[in-house]
C-alpha cells in the first residue's frame, strides 16, 4: 500500500507540476501562474468574493497548506486575522515564517498610507501601511520579479524556464500598461470617495483624489452622522463617483449616491472579484472601464 502510494506520488510528480505554490489571494496567484507556467501548481486560499481581511480559516485550507512548497502572502497585516493559526496547524515546515518557502510580498512593495502613529482607537489601521497594493497595475512587475527569484531559488534546475517566462511576461505587461495608460488619459473626472481605502494605490497611480470613506474609521460600520457629512462633502465638491467593493453592504453607497446625485460603482479589488475581472489584464481593464468618465 505504502509503495503504491509512494509510486503514485512519484509518478504524478514527474508528469505534472514540480512545485506546489499557495497564494493567499487571487492576483498573486495569477502572477505566480505566469511565471511558474506548467511547472507550478497554484492554489489560491481566499475566495475573491470575500473581504480579504476576514477569510474563514476553514480546515480545508490546512490540507492545501500542508502540501505547499511555497506560500506567498500579501502581507502588511492583511492576513493577520486568519492565516497565522492555519500556518501553525498545517504542520508544514517549508512554509513557516522565516523558512525558504515563505514569501511576504509586501516586503518588496513601496507602501503608501503608512501611519505615523498606530492605535486601535483609529480603527483597524495597518501599522505597515495600506496593504491593498495589488490594485496598482505597476505592482505586477515587482511581484513577477520577486516570484521569479523565489521559484528559481527553490527549483534551481528550472531557473532558465522561469527567467524566460518572466521576460516574456514583463514585455507583455509593459505593452499592456501603455494601453491602459492611454485609456486612463481619457478619464476626466478625478474626484471620488471610497467605502474602505481599498483602491488608494490605483487612485494615486492615476492621480485621482479621494475625499473620504464611507466607513468612518477602517473596519468600523458607517454611522449616520458621518454619512451626512459625506453627502455634504460630495455636494460641495461636486463629486460624482463613489467606489464600492463587492463584499461590503451597498445600502450606504446607494443612499449617498441618491442624496448627492452621484453614482456608486462596484470595483473588483482582486482578480476574480467580479465576473469580467477573470484575468490580470481584465482585472485592471474592469477597474479602468468602470471608474473612467
Amino acid at each position: 500500500m505504502k509503495k503504491i502510494l509512494l509510486l503514485t506520488i512519484l509518478l504524478s510528480n514527474m508528469l505534472f507540476a514540480s512545485l506546489n505554490v499557495n497564494t493567499t489571494y487571487q492576483t498573486l496567484g495569477e502572477v505566480a501562474k505566469k511565471i511558474g507556467g506548467e511547472l507550478v501548481k497554484v492554489n489560491v486560499l481566499a475566495s475573491a468574493k470575500y473581504d480579504p481581511h476576514f477569510i474563514v480559516p476553514k480546515p480545508s485550507l490546512l490540507s492545501k497548506l500542508r502540501r505547499a512548497d511555497l506560500l506567498i502572502i500579501n502581507g502588511a497585516g492583511l492576513e493577520i486575522g486568519w492565516l497565522p493559526p492555519l500556518i501553525r496547524s498545517a504542520n508544514n515546515a517549508k512554509i513557516q515564517v522565516g523558512a525558504q518557502g515563505f514569501l511576504d510580498m509586501s516586503h518588496f512593495i513601496p507602501m503608501i498610507d503608512v501611519p505615523t502613529s498606530v492605535s486601535r482607537g483609529f480603527g483597524d489601521v495597518h501599522a505597515q501601511g495600506n496593504p491593498h497594493y495589488s490594485t496598482d497595475p505597476y505592482m505586477i512587475p515587482i511581484m513577477a520579479k520577486v516570484i521569479e527569484a523565489k521559484l528559481s531559488a527553490l527549483d534551481i534546475s528550472n531557473e532558465a524556464y522561469y527567467k524566460a517566462n518572466l521576460e516574456n511576461f514583463l514585455k507583455e505587461w509593459d505593452a499592456y500598461l501603455q494601453k491602459l495608460n492611454t485609456k486612463m488619459l481619457s478619464c476626466k473626472d478625478k474626484k471620488l470617495i471610497e467605502y474602505h481605502e481599498l483602491f488608494n494605490y490605483f487612485l494615486s497611480r492615476y492621480e485621482y483624489k479621494s475625499y473620504g470613506n464611507i466607513e468612518p474609521l477602517p473596519g468600523i460600520a458607517p454611522s449616520s452622522k458621518h454619512t451626512l457629512e459625506l453627502i455634504h462633502t460630495l455636494k460641495s465638491n461636486k463629486i460624482k463617483i463613489i467606489l464600492q467593493d463587492v463584499y461590503h453592504e451597498k445600502k450606504s453607497a446607494l443612499f449617498i449616491a441618491k442624496k448627492a446625485d452621484a453614482s456608486a460603482i462596484i470595483l473588483p479589488h482582486e482578480v476574480g472579484a467580479v465576473k469580467e475581472a477573470d484575468t490580470l489584464e481584465n482585472f485592471y481593464n474592469t477597474i479602468a472601464k468602470r471608474i473612467c468618465r
Binding site: S47, K49, Y50, D51, F54, V56, P57, K58, P59, S60, L62, S63, R66, R67, I80, G81, W82, L83, P84, P85, L86, R88, S89, A90, N91, N92, A93, Q96, V97, G98, A99, R120, G123, D124, G219, I220, A221, Y247, H248, E249
Partner: protein, 402 residues
C-alpha cells in the same frame, strides 16, 4: 518631462536644419545618462539606512502580548448561597461544583488574562496564557510546539487544553456562549481536559483535510480521571473536513480518552462532534455545532454509563450582530442516584444569546438560560438567568482558529 522634451525637439527640428538634430540628440542622450546616474545615486543613498536602535535593545523580540478581560452583570431566580451548592444528579454532588465564571447575582469580574505568543527559534513556538481570577492566578496553558518537523508532524509539550472533541481546546472567551456545555461541565469541570503532557499530531498529505492525534497527559482531572500514582490519561482523535462549494464547510471528529479514575479503575470517554458552517457573505454566516460525549467509568464492581450532548445554532448577521441558541441534554445517566429523592430524568437546558460587537476586539453579549439540570437544596429547580457579559481582547491578540 518627456513630453516637454519631445515638444521642444519638434520645435527645434522645424526651426533649424537637420544638422542641428544630431547635436540635440547627443545632448538629450547625455541628459538621459545624467538622470540615470542621479537616480542610481539616490537609490544607493536610500539603501544606506543607518542603525539607530539602542545598542542592546531587544524590543523587536518581545512576544505578542494580549490582555483579555471578562465581566458580567447577572440576574437569577436562585439565591447565591443556594446556587453555589447546586448538584447535577449523577455528575456533581452538592457543594462540589466549581464556579469560576458568573457565579454571583449582581456583578461578576471573572478574569483578566495575559496571553503571550512568541517564536522561540526556527524550531519552536511558545504560547502561554495566565488566567488571573479574583481567587488567584492559574497557568491556563503554557506549551511549546514544534515548527520544523517533517512528514506533517507536530509535537506540543507543556500544560495544554486537549484537542479532544470540538470545544475542549477553546478558551472561555472564544466560546459561543459564556456557560460551558452541560456535558463538559459534568464530565470534566470548568477547565475541561487540560493537563500537563505531550501531544503528537499528524496532518495527512491529502486533498481532504485529515488530522490524527495522540496525547499522553497527567490525568489530574478527578471528575473523570485523577489516579495520581502516575500519568494515567491517553487521548486519541481523528478529524476530517470537507467543503461543499465556496460557502459550506463541514468538520467532524471522533475522540477517545482513556484514563484511570480516583478508584484506580478505568474511565473511557467517547466523543463525536460535527460542525457545519455556511458562509452567507463576508461577515454573515450560519454555524451549527454539536457534540455528543459518553463516559464509561468503572467503580469497583460497577460501571457508570453516562452521556450527553449539546447542539448550538449561531446566526452571524453582520460584523456587529449575532444571535444563537443552544440545547443541552443529559441523554444517559446510569449511575448511583440513590442520594436523590427527586426525579432525575430530563436533565436539560436551553440557552439563547444576542451579541453585539462594536469592533472585533470587544463584545457585549446578552444571554438567557433556562436550566433544568440542577438540584438545589434537595429540590429540582428551574433556574432562570439573564446575563450581560462584556469581553475585550486588547493588544496583540492572535486570530482564533476555525
Amino acid at each position: 518631462m518627456k513630453k516637454f522634451i519631445s515638444l521642444s525637439l519638434l520645435t527645434f527640428t522645424s526651426l533649424f536644419a537637420d544638422a542641428e538634430l544630431e547635436s540635440i540628440k547627443e545632448q538629450l542622450e547625455q541628459q538621459q545618462y545624467n538622470t540615470q546616474q542621479l537616480e542610481s545615486k539616490i537609490a544607493r543613498l536610500e539603501q544606506k539606512s543607518t542603525n539607530t536602535s539602542a545598542s542592546f535593545s531587544q524590543n523587536a523580540y518581545l512576544p505578542d502580548i494580549a490582555m483579555i478581560l471578562n465581566m458580567s452583570a447577572l440576574s437569577r431566580n436562585v439565591k447565591n448561597s443556594d446556587y453555589e451548592n447546586y448538584a447535577i444528579p449523577g455528575f456533581i454532588d452538592a457543594g462540589d461544583a466549581e464556579l469560576p465564571f458568573n457565579k454571583e447575582r449582581g456583578f461578576n469580574f471573572n478574569y483578566a488574562e495575559v496571553a503571550m505568543r512568541s517564536t522561540v527559534d526556527p524550531y519552536f513556538d511558545a504560547f502561554a496564557i495566565f488566567h488571573i481570577a479574583p481567587d488567584g492566578l492559574e497557568i491556563e496553558e503554557a506549551y511549546v510546539q514544534t515548527r520544523a518537523l517533517p512528514f506533517g508532524l507536530l509535537i506540543k509539550a507543556g500544560k495544554m487544553k486537549s484537542n479532544f472533541g470540538r470545544i475542549n481546546s477553546k478558551h472561555q472567551h472564544s466560546w459561543q456562549f459564556d456557560s460551558q456545555p452541560i456535558i463538559y461541565e459534568s464530565l470534566f469541570g470548568p477547565d475541561s481536559i487540560s493537563d500537563a503532557g505531550i501531544q503528537l499530531q499528524w496532518v495527512a498529505p491529502t486533498d481532504t483535510y485529515l488530522m490524527a492525534g495522540v496525547e499522553a497527559l497527567q490525568g489530574t482531572n478527578d471528575k473523570s480521571f485523577g489516579d495520581l500514582e502516575k500519568n494515567n490519561l491517553y487521548i486519541t482523535y481523528i478529524k476530517s473536513s470537507i467543503d461543499i462549494g465556496d460557502d459550506l464547510s463541514i468538520l467532524g471528529g471522533v475522540s477517545l480518552a482513556h484514563g484511570k479514575n480516583t478508584t484506580q479503575n478505568s474511565t473511557d470517554v467517547y466523543g463525536l462532534d460535527l460542525t457545519l458552517r455556511e458562509q452567507l457573505g463576508s461577515y454573515s454566516s450560519l454555524i451549527w455545532q454539536s457534540e455528543f460525549l459518553q463516559r464509561n467509568k468503572d467503580i469497583s464492581t460497577t460501571t457508570d454509563k453516562q452521556a450527553g450532548l449539546y447542539s448550538e445554532l449561531i446566526y452571524q448577521y453582520n460584523n456587529n450582530y449575532s444571535a444563537g441558541f443552544r440545547y443541552d441534554r443529559i441523554t444517559k445517566n446510569e449511575a448511583d442516584l440513590s442520594n436523590y429523592a427527586v426525579d432525575t430524568n430530563n436533565l436539560l437546558r436551553y440557552t439563547a444569546k444576542l451579541e453585539y460587537k462594536p469592533f472585533p476586539m470587544s463584545r457585549l453579549r446578552l444571554e438567557y438560560t433556562n436550566d433544568k439540570t440542577k438540584v438545589i437544596a434537595g429540590e429540582r429547580k428551574d433556574i432562570n438567568e439573564v446575563m450581560l457579559t462584556l469581553n475585550i481582547a486588547a493588544g496583540a491578540h492572535g486570530a482564533h482558529d476555525y
